[in-house]
Symmetry: C2
Subunit: 213 residues, 2 copies
């Protein structure tokens, strides 16, 4: 199993057993997540932006308008950045207040943003963005015009300095608490896709596509 | 409606119409979110930590072990910090790839962490943590011992420099695309609480509490 090297930034010191460095786990968390949070620094002050992203191979891609202030900041200043992703899998209800916890899978990546100039890479990233949101969608939609391409900025981050943190399973209580008459266990959480709502402006006669069933 | 002042850090410049500064909206997003992402800076490098939190009045509270490296960092260095929260409400499928989007509600708060020393405030924060996870839980569980209190650090952030960003509603396509034979609309997303899973070590005869039905 291929692993990321542990660095002073990615080493998990607190609850070290929750640290996971294998690529398979890190990539699976990234692929499931609908958005990431991007952090960067300006004059000593950290800023955060939640944004969509997609992983292709050993890189993640974020995109935005060329008019976006933070995208230009990231492009021009080559900030050190930090990207995080968190999936909440469950509420962990212990017998003691102290041992209440959550099941989660999170990833943190450290890196510098790179502007994607290569047209092929850019095109692929945007196709994958649409496909990540909804598999099968790219084939159906109007593709970007030259002007739309020009309005879109894509930045990539190498996934080289990265780690995951994962908690799974039931609560862990103190030995003497297991005999208490208190219910304990996990309430699993899941992101549910509800029934699609058609655009009120939808052209009459257009059917909902197979991939949304 | 009470509003947060707009500062150079909280002003939303890109898609300004999505910026929301009223307290009611900001607080409702914070109260619904299960976790926040905390960003701080060490030697020019941004770090991020996803963590549980609770809002009480004009403050949010995070907690952790006194042995936690980042909690001690935040306490000792009085870092400028940034806290963000994001709720994903829906996938917005437009007729063009370019106008694909998501419906979301996010909040960003800027501030400096304060160590909570006051016992009453500390106790209340931890009670609210448990109650936020599962209303009614606090009454059932074993309360913290003196030692557990000593092992727990709580930090607060004033919610004074804060803003929200919100997108709702159907896709916004280019005028000429509305006549296309492409389905468009929103796939709403919702965090679902699945059937609770009892701890395999659960004492025989302990029933699942009412508040989990």
């Amino acid at each position: 199993m291929e692993k990321f090297p542990i660095t002073d930034k990615t080493e998990i010191t607190r609850l070290a057993k929750r640290g996971v460095y294998d690529k398979e786990t890190v990539y699976s968390i990234l692929d499931e997540a609908l958005f990431c949070t991007l952090a960067y620094v300006r004059e000593g002050q950290p800023f955060q932006i939640p944004t969509g992203f997609v992983r292709i191979g050993d890189k993640i891609y974020v995109h935005g308008s060329v008019g976006s202030f933070y995208m230009r900041e990231l492009r021009d200043r080559k900030h050190h950045a930090c990207v995080s992703v968190t999936l909440m899998d469950g509420l962990v209800l212990a017998r003691s207040a102290f041992h209440h916890s959550v099941n989660y899978r999170s990833v943190v990546i450290f890196g510098e943003p790179q502007l994607v100039n290569n047209k092929e890479e850019l095109y692929k990233a945007l196709e994958f963005f649409t496909e990540k949101m909804c598999r099968g969608r790219w084939n159906d939609v109007r593709k970007p015009t030259d002007n739309e391409w020009k309005e879109t900025m894509v930045l990539s981050f190498d996934i080289s300095e990265a780690s995951a943190k994962v908690r799974t399973g039931p609560p862990k209580d103190d030995e003497e608490d297991y005999s208490m008459d208190v219910w304990a266990g996990v309430v699993p959480l899941k992101i549910q896709h509800l029934e699609p709502i058609a655009d009120p402006e939808l052209k009459i006669g257009v059917k909902i596509p197979e991939y949304l069933h």
